[in-house]
Every structure is written in C-alpha cells, then in structure tokens.
C-alpha cells in the first residue's frame, strides 16, 4: 500500500524544516506531523551558528521558540542577538556570529585570553599549528598556542573525526582519557580549542562533565564535513522531534507533490523497493534551493502566507507553504536566522489555514 495520512508533511530537515516541524507540534496540539528529508540540512557544515535574522526583531517569537527547542533537545545555544562575536575556525579565520551551540560559543574571542589550539596526533584533517599561526596574525587580543595530544588508536590507524566522536559517545574510558589529556594542556590556558569530536549524540550535560574534568572551558571548531558539531545538532533535534511524536522519514527524497484543483493532497516519496505516498492536509516545502523542480508553474514569488504563486499570481495550492532557501535565497546556509524565522512562519500559516478550514 505505502499510503499514510498526516495533518502536516514537512519536507526538508534543514533549520527551516526543523523549526517548522517544532512550531507545528507546539502550535497544533496533537496534530499528526511527518518530516520527510533526503539528507541533512546545510547548517550541519557550519554547526548552526546564527548571524543574521534578515531584519526581524531580536525578540522575535521564532528565535525564542528556537532557543526553547535547542534547550529541550540538549544542545543549548549561547549568545545575544544584539551583539556579534567572533568564533575561530579550522582555517584560521574568525567567523562572526550572534548565537551558536554552546560548545562552539566557548571559543569566541575574548580579549586577553590565552587559548590552546589542540591538535590530535593522527588526525590530519586538523592542524593546530596552522590554525594558531593564522589566528595570531589577526591580532584579536587573544594569544593562541598550538598543542598536541595523543589518543589511543584503533588498530593503529589514523584518526577520523567520526571515529573519535563515536568513541566519545560510546566509551567512558575514552572520554576519561580525552579529559586527562586535555587537563594536562589546560593548566596553562583559559580555554582549550579542539576540532569538533565531542560526540554525535552528546548533550549539554556531557559537555559540562568534560569541562569539569578538564578544568576550563572546552571549545569545538567545526571541521570540514563531516562536522561532528553539526551532526550532533541535527541528530539531537531530529531525536527530540521524534520524541514529540513526529514521524520522521530520513534518507528519502520527495519526488513530486500531488496537486489537484489548487489543493496539495500529499507527497510522493522515493523509498527503497516501492514508492510511497503520504496524504497531507498541509505541506511545507523546506527542501532547499535545488528542489524548485517540485513546483511546476511556480513564478518564484510567494504570498504573504508563504504560499508559492504561479505567473498569474494565484497560489499553486492553498495548503502548500514554503520555507528556507527555496523561498528565500538569503536563507541559504549562513542565513540560519532567516531559515528559523521562515520555518516558524510557514508552520503558523499552515495551522492558521487549518483552523480556518475547521470553522467552515
């Protein structure tokens, strides 16, 4: 059969889709929500820092709700929308952000601090000397020194960030070794900066435990993909939403929307073995800038309720909403704030519509 029915189907697990899903769950009170996504959101590459809200107010409910979401998911953000800070990167640059997951935020530039940039022997994808040398040239008021630790190898092989993260998640002895190694380095510094390896699933509690053992703040720097910090954020948000009763179908692309008489009846999903169809009362399309092919006849514009319009200015479907970079190119990665606000708005619009519908 392969047919299921939902009140809302959200397509895409970037920050727009995740924010839309979370908002829908909170706003609808028991609606059946599905989240269908082919891959991970692009926020994963940069670990989810928010730098730009696209002009909306700092106290926008979307931001408040998002911070409540990440808190509940165990991956709290720190920062202040009114004030930009600089985070060091593995390329030895400084990235301006307002909000970021705590483990990244810990590394923000604070004048007068001494920071150890800690490399791991056998992890070639990160070079502490390179990072420290470049950061020191930026004269940001911090002093960076490259240090190096040794962690036990598996079968004598070089390390990868995923291997280290998985061991951090699963092996208490590994966490202890890591903490001891970092503590030895930390004695001389205000903060230790490490490549992001602190678990794909770890929560704020485990981070705090590590910091207590190390004796100073531990800050992660996102690596080139796979970025463990980004994967963690994605994993924990998806797990949290699943815990909230959302049906999540990961790894499957939506191949078409079923639109009939200006009404979106559902989505077709390519799952292995057989195609599936999810019937939906409303659909939010947040699947990124490369999914415009799902919207034949779309002019590129949308109405005030985020519904895509055709060339005559009519909505393609009265219950189909857009969020994220598909609707707002500025919300592409780097425009995480806009994605959060857009996802939030699309979910509210979807349920407003459903409420209207119910009263008729």
């Amino acid at each position: 059969m392969g047919r299921q029915t939902f009140d809302l189907v959200v397509v895409g697990a970037g920050l727009a889709g995740l924010a839309a899903t979370a908002t829908a769950v909170a706003a609808s009170g028991g609606a059946r929500v599905a989240l269908v996504h082919a891959g991970l959101g692009t926020f994963v590459y940069g670990a989810g820092g928010v730098a730009d809200l696209g002009g909306v107010a700092a106290d926008h409910p979307a931001v408040r709700d998002f911070r409540a979401l990440v808190d509940a998911a165990g991956v709290p953000y720190d920062g202040d929308l009114g004030q930009s800070q600089l985070l060091p990167t593995i390329l030895g640059t400084l990235l301006p952000v307002n909000l970021a997951p705590r483990s990244l935020w810990n590394g923000r530039v604070r004048s007068g601090t001494r920071a150890a940039v800690v490399g791991i022997a056998g992890l070639s994808a990160f070079d502490a000397d390179f990072v420290a040398e470049r950061l020191n040239r930026l004269a940001c008021g911090c002093c960076y020194q490259a240090r190096r630790i040794e962690l036990p190898r598996q079968d004598g092989l070089p390390h990868s960030v995923l291997e280290l993260a998985n061991r951090f998640d699963r092996d208490p002895a590994f966490r202890q070794t890591l903490a001891e190694q970092l503590r030895r380095v930390a004695a001389d510094y205000d903060v230790v900066l490490i490549p992001a390896i602190l678990g794909q699933w770890s929560d704020a509690g485990q981070m705090a435990e590590l910091e207590t053992a190390v004796g100073c703040p531990v800050a992660e720097m996102a690596t080139l993909p796979p970025s463990v910090a980004g994967l963690r954020l994605s994993n924990r948000l998806l797990a949290h939403l699943r815990g909230q009763g959302v049906d999540i179908f990961g790894g499957y692309p939506v191949t078409a929307l079923e639109v009939e008489n200006a009404r979106c009846r559902g989505v077709h999903v390519a799952t292995p073995g057989h195609a599936r169809h999810f019937a939906a009362s409303a659909v939010i399309l947040a699947s990124g800038p490369h999914s415009a092919n799902l919207l034949p006849g779309w002019s590129g514009d949308q109405d005030s309720r985020r519904r895509p319009l055709d060339h005559q200015g009519r909505f393609l479907a009265d219950n189909l909403y857009l969020a994220g970079a598909l609707a707002d190119p500025e919300a592409r990665h780097g425009g995480n704030g806009r994605a959060i606000v857009g996802g939030h708005g699309a979910a509210l619009a979807a349920f407003e519509r459903e409420d209207d519908h119910a009263t008729h």
Binding site: T42, Y45, G46, L95, P96, S124, D129, L224
Partner: protein, 540 residues
C-alpha cells in the same frame, strides 16, 4: 650566469618530449614554462590517443603518423595509457557515403578495424542509442596527459635535463644573426634571471606566436578554441567516435574514473582567458546526448576550454578551424629569417608529440654538430617496477589504492613504501577519487622531487588530486595542510594559495547548468564562504 646548450620554451607534451629527446642524445637543455607543466593545449584536451581513424578520410598522412605514434607510445609509455580501444559508431542520421569512405580510407593506410553489428556494438557499449546502424573498432586509447608530460620530464631530469616551471621568458637575446640566450622572470616571485645558450626551441603551442615575437619574428598560429565537458562516470568504456566528417562533440573518451566529451571549434584571438559560453555548452550537451542518450541525466563535473594551436602557412589563412591541417611544421629560423639557433615547432597534436620532438631534435642536433640518433621511439619512459616493490605496496595500501598508484609511480613506489614504513599515518588517503595517499602527496611536494611543485594545482597535475567529484573542496584543503606540514609553505602562503586554488576549481564549475554538481559547487562556496569565513567567490 647560467649556461646550457638548448633552451626550450613551453612545458606541454612537445616541450617535455624535446627535453627528453635531447637528454637522451646527451645534449644539455633547460625547459622553461611560464606556468606549470601541461598548462596549455596538452592539459586541456580529451586525452585521446588517436589511432588515426579520425583523420583517415581527410588526411591520410596525418592518419598514418597517428597510427605509428599510437603503437610507439603504447610500447614506451604503457603506464600513461589506458588501452581501452575505440569505436566508430554509425548513426542513422549521418551520411552513409562517409561510412564507406571511412572503411576504404582505414584499409588504405593499414589501420586495423573490425566491423560490428548494431547488436554487437550495443553489447559492448549498452549506453549507445538503440537505433545505431553498427560500428567499427579501432585502436584508439586514453592517455593521461599530465602523467605523459610528467614522465617525459622525470625521465629527462634523470638524464641531466632541467625543467623550470613558473619561468616566463621575457627576452630572447641575440648577437647579430645568432641566438645567445634568454632572460626570464619567475612569475610567482618576480625574480629575474637569464641563461646563455646556443639554441632556443619555441615549443609554445598556443603561445608560439608570442614567443617568436620576442625574437622579432612572425610565426602565424591560429588559436582554435575547443571546450570539453567532464562527466563523472564512464558512460562508455571505449573511446566512442561518431563516424562522420569531424564535427562538434563527436568524441567521448573514458578517462580514468570520468569521461570527457568534446569539442567545439571556435577561432579565438589568443590562448588566454578562455571561457566556454552558455550556448556552446548547451550545444555540446545536446550533441553528446545524440552520441549517448543517458548523458542527459548524467553529472557534469567540470567544463574547460583549450586551444588547438593551428599553424597557418601563408595563403591558408582563410580556412576554418577544422579545415587547417592537424599536421605540424618545424621552422628553422636560421634559414627562413636569418636568425641562427632559433627553431619553432608549431601545430600538431598530442598523439604526435614524440614525432614532433624527434624532428625538432634532429634539426637541433645537426645544428649543434651532435651525431646522436633519436632513441625515444624505443626507450621506455620509465623503467619497469621491481616485483618486490609492487608486493610491498600491496601490503601497505588497500587494493584499489595500490593498483592506481602503481600506474602513477612505478618504481618510485619504493620511496612511497619507505615513507609509509617510517610513518604509517602517511598511508592515509587524502584524495578518495584518485586514491592519493599522504605519502604520495609528500613525495610530490619534496624539495628534491624531479619536477617540484609550488602550488596546490601543481600537486593535482602530478598525482591527479582534486580531479574527482569534490573538485578539491576536501582534498585541496588536505593538500594545503600537508604542504604546510612538509614546510613547503608557511600558513599565510598556504591559505593564499588555497584561495587561488578554489577560485580556479570554482571557475571550472561556474557554468555547469544544473544537477548534483551544482549542489556540490554550492557546498564548496558555502563551506569556505559563510561557514568558515575563509573565501568567497569574487574575492581577490
């Protein structure tokens, strides 16, 4: 003041072949290249080792040359050649009169072909369209142009030849009617230098006209732009040619893990600043889809353009790009322009680079009074790999990496093994597509390498790092860090070069119309732009 007997200008296959040929004859020579090896037409072509079948109908002499050279290169440089064979496919929309002319022309020059029915051809190449009428086999092959150029240089350096990259010749010195040396500038550092010599060979390819102008001479070269598309799979496993009068986009070459479709043919004003136009790319893709229909859904990795440097003798300059001879010309400026010691080798094609080098060096040797014959046709470019070295590498590396690196390094795998045995971490793969290990990158970066590198792009031309679907987004970063660790460049220089590298890679993808590679490109832009605040498109 540096001295040598011969200065060669231009580090393409021809210049490298000349350096090797002269070195074998015991003639001291220095090759100066203004960028890096294979920067011009050599590195910007199909990598098709012609069998001659392409030229059989129109130019029997060129076809015979190709056939001879095809056989020679398969013997002396097997590690540079994937001997995949070729097909000439008969499409119903093409002129049947050409099919018969082609059969006759191939028979006339003794080119070995075998007819295949449509069913047989489809059995070999299922991605051909089902409506084809038939096909013929021919001994076409794929040649790794970077490996070929590099192997010539390495062989020459081992015999005392010298290669200098990023050395742009700024003046050709003469005393009376005799060349006496060249001045050149390091294009990365700006340092100036000079070399005294008895002869100068202009192997500038598309730049031959500019090089000749340095000596105050006119060498008429027409630059004919050809654009090519790199697709991310072997859509075909043999070289597929369309059996018709040569035209656009009628050759598809399986090249390692990818395949290359080309070309267009457009006269341009010079060899620099080449760019494929949008309609040109669309036209190539449309014709490519006639060749192999599934191309419509396949992923374009990269688009690049090169120029065929066509020699246009007096009176022939009205002909269009494909009408001018693919043959080459050796100009002895001592005879033609009263400038002794200056020689230009112009025109020609990759397949005949060795023959061009041979004829050039015959002339150079006779002018220098050296009585050594050419030995490049029977001397392997690389000694065989000792069995023990191959065995050792198979123990140290995964099977796929071991077999790929064997082609690239051959006997030099002994040094690779030494590095990995000294530090097992060096066995890590930095470029997954081309299976390049840290140890190999370190070898390529070594200061005592026969053909040293100065940029990340140079590393790619030595070991193919960054040629796959990530287009250097990941492995380019890793190579930058490896260079930093090896002391090749300090952090700031490393970062600056990596930005240039990204620009170059992004440029090659900028006109990709749609699909997965566009997403890959956006990923690259996003990673280094918003995510890491490192580099954005359009930044200096």
């Amino acid at each position: 003041m540096d001295r040598t007997q011969v200065v060669i200008i231009g580090g393409g296959a021809t210049g490298a072949g000349i350096l090797w040929d002269l070195s074998l004859r015991g003639i001291a020579a220095v090759l100066l290249e203004k960028r890096d090896l294979a920067n011009g037409a050599t590195g910007r072509c199909h990598g098709l080792l012609h069998s001659g079948a392409r030229y059989a109908v129109k130019d029997a002499e060129a076809a015979r040359e190709c056939l001879r050279e095809n056989r020679i290169l398969k013997t002396i440089a097997p590690h540079c050649i994937h001997d995949v064979g070729g097909l000439f496919v008969r499409y119903p929309q093409d002129d049947p009169a050409f099919f018969t002319a082609w059969d006759r022309a191939c028979a006339d020059i003794g080119l070995p072909t075998a007819p295949l029915s449509a069913a047989e051809a489809l059995d070999l190449e299922p991605n051909l369209p089902s409506g084809i009428l038939g096909a013929s086999t021919c001994p076409d092959a794929h040649v790794d142009v970077f490996q070929l150029t590099l192997s010539n240089l390495q062989a020459a350096v081992a015999r005392g030849g010298r290669f200098r990259a990023y050395a742009e010749v700024t003046a050709i010195e003469r005393r009376g009617g005799q060349v006496t040396g060249v001045r050149f500038r390091d294009t990365l550092s700006g340092d100036e230098d000079s070399i005294d010599c008895e002869m100068v060979v202009n192997a500038g390819g598309g730049w031959a006209q500019q090089v000749a102008a340095l000596a105050g001479l006119h060498v008429p070269v027409r630059c004919d732009k050809g654009s090519l598309l790199v697709l991310n799979h072997n859509l075909v496993t043999r070289v597929v040619n369309r059996c018709r009068k040569p035209g656009d986009a009628d050759i598809l070459v399986p090249a390692g893990p990818v395949c290359i479709l080309g070309t267009s043919s457009i006269t341009v004003s010079g060899p620099e600043g080449l760019r494929a136009e949008t309609d040109e790319i669309e036209a190539l893709l449309k014709l490519g889809t006639e060749l192999v229909p599934c191309m419509a859904e396949s992923r374009v990795l990269r688009i690049f353009s090169g120029v065929r440097p066509l020699y246009v003798p007096q009176g022939a300059d009205k002909a269009g790009g494909r009408e001018i001879s693919r043959g080459f010309a050796l100009l002895d400026h001592g005879v033609e322009d009263n400038l002794d010691g200056f020689v230009s080798i112009v025109g020609g094609k990759l397949t005949t680079y060795r023959l061009m080098a041979e004829k050039t060096c015959d002339l150079v040797a006779s002018r220098l009074g050296v009585d050594e014959p050419c030995r490049t046709a029977e001397t392997p470019l690389r000694p065989p790999t000792p069995e023990a070295v191959t065995r050792k590498i198979r123990h140290l590396l995964p099977a796929q990496a071991a077999s790929i690196v064997e082609r690239r390094l051959g006997p030099a795998m002994a040094q690779l093994a030494e590095r990995i045995e000294a530090d097992p971490d060096m066995a890590e793969i930095l470029c997954e597509c081309e299976q390049v290990t840290r140890a190999e990158v370190a070898m390529v970066m070594a200061v005592d390498a026969k053909v040293p590198v100065r940029t990340i792009n140079d590393v790619g031309r030595r070991c193919r790092l960054g040629f796959g679907s990530c287009q250097g987004t990941f492995c380019g970063y890793r190579a930058m860090l490896e260079g930093y660790r090896q002391g090749l460049w300090p952090a700031e220089a490393a970062a600056a070069d990596f930005k240039r590298y990204l620009d170059e890679r992004w440029k090659g993808q900028a006109q990709i119309p749609n699909g997965k590679q566009l997403e890959q490109l956006m990923l690259s832009h996003d990673l280094f732009g918003p995510s890491h605040h490192f580099h954005s498109d359009g930044e200096g």
